[in-house]
C-alpha cells in the first residue's frame, strides 16, 4: 500500500490528481489524506483529514510514503523508517504562501531515504521502484546540543 499525505491547511490538488492517475495504472492500493481538496478521486481512496490514530495505522501499513515537503512528513517517515517521496508545493502555482517547501526539499535531498519528485511527472518511476531506501531514524547527533541549549536557558 502507498500512503500519501499532502498537508491539511491548503489544497495540493496537483499532487492529489497525479497520485489518483498513478493509482489507476497500478495494482497497488493508494490511500491519500487529501486535505481541503476539490478533486473527486477515481482510483485512490481519499480522506480529507484522518484522526491521528488512523493516520498512524496507515503509515505503519504503507510500503512507501508520498508527501508534500512538510517537516511533519519527514519526521513521520523518519520515526517509522519508511521510504519517502516528497513533492514540494510551489508558491508560483498558488500552493503555498512562500517557497519554503522548495528550500526544504533542497535541504533534505541528500538525506538517505528522501526521494524528491521536483515535478509530479517524476512520480511514476519512483512509485514503481522496488529498492527505495527508507529514512533513517532521527539521530541524536543534531538534536542533543539543541536540547542542551534550551535546558541551560530555561
Amino acid at each position: 500500500m502507498i500512503f500519501a499525505t499532502v498537508g491539511t491547511q491548503l489544497p495540493f490538488d496537483r499532487l492529489v490528481g497525479a497520485l489518483d492517475q498513478q493509482a489507476g495504472q497500478s495494482s497497488e492500493e493508494f490511500i491519500i489524506q487529501t486535505g481541503p481538496s476539490r478533486l473527486k478521486l477515481e482510483y485512490a481512496t481519499g480522506f480529507k483529514q484522518l484522526d491521528p490514530e488512523r493516520f498512524e495505522r496507515f503509515v505503519e501499513g504503507a510500503r512507501l510514503l508520498v508527501a508534500h515537503a512538510g517537516i511533519g512528513s519527514l519526521l513521520t517517515a523518519s520515526a517509522y523508517g519508511k521510504p519517502l517521496i516528497i513533492v514540494p508545493r510551489r508558491k508560483s502555482l498558488g500552493e503555498h504562501r512562500n517557497e519554503h517547501q522548495l528550500a526544504t526539499a533542497r535541504q533534505f535531498q541528500q538525506r538517505i531515504g528522501v526521494h524528491i519528485a521536483w515535478q509530479v511527472s517524476d512520480l511514476g518511476p519512483l512509485l514503481i521502484a522496488k529498492d527505495l531506501m527508507p529514512l533513517e531514524q532521527t539521530g541524536a547527533k543534531h538534536l542533543q546540543p539543541l536540547l542542551d541549549r534550551i535546558r541551560t536557558f530555561i
Binding site: 519526521l75 513521520t76 519554503h100 538534536l143 539543541l146 534550551i150 535546558r151 536557558f153
Partner: protein, 150 residues
C-alpha cells in the same frame, strides 16, 4: 519536585512534531501544552493540554479568536517559561509570556532552511532565546544556532 511552570505551544502538524522532540529539554517541569488540533496531545501523551483555534495571516477572525484563547491560557496558568516551535499561535504565546515576565524560547521550524520564517521574525522581539535550526539562517538573521530536530 520542581514547580516551574512551562507553557509549550505549537500549531498542529510539523510544528507540533518538532515540539514533541524538544520535550526532554523541559520534561522535569510542570508542563502545559497548547496546540490547534484535537486528538494530538492524547496521541503523544502530552497532557494536560488545551486546544485553541488555528490561525494564520489569511484568516484574521480566527486569528483573533485564537489570540484570545491563548491569552486565556496564559493568564490562567501564568507560566515561568514559554517555548514555541511556531507558528503564529506561538508568537502570541511568546508576546504574552514576555508581558508577564516569563522566559521565552523560540525554535524556528526546521522547514526554514534558507531564511527565518515570517512568524520567527515576528517572534524576535519577544524571544529571550531566539533559535534557528540551520547554520545558514543563523548567519543571515542573527538568530542563534544550537542544533536541529532531524
Amino acid at each position: 519536585m520542581n514547580q516551574k511552570r512551562v507553557m509549550a505551544i505549537a500549531s498542529g502538524g510539523g510544528h507540533w512534531q518538532q515540539l514533541m522532540l524538544l520535550r526532554p529539554a523541559f520534561q522535569e517541569y510542570s508542563i502545559r501544552y497548547v496546540t490547534t488540533m484535537a486528538g494530538l496531545p492524547e496521541k503523544f501523551d502530552a497532557l494536560p493540554a488545551a486546544i485553541v483555534p488555528d490561525c494564520n495571516r489569511n484568516k484574521p477572525i480566527t486569528a483573533t479568536l485564537s489570540a484570545f484563547a491563548i491569552l486565556f491560557q496564559m493568564f490562567r496558568h501564568r507560566p515561568h517559561v514559554v517555548v514555541s516551535t511556531g507558528a503564529l499561535p506561538g508568537v502570541i504565546g511568546l508576546a504574552v509570556g514576555k508581558l508577564i515576565g516569563a522566559r521565552t524560547v523560540w525554535v524556528d521550524s526546521v522547514a526554514n532552511g534558507e531564511e527565518m520564517s515570517m512568524s520567527g521574525n515576528l517572534a524576535r522581539p519577544f524571544a529571550g532565546l531566539w533559535l534557528t535550526q540551520w547554520e545558514a539562517v543563523s548567519e543571515k538573521s542573527g538568530a542563534e544556532f544550537a542544533g536541529r530536530v532531524i
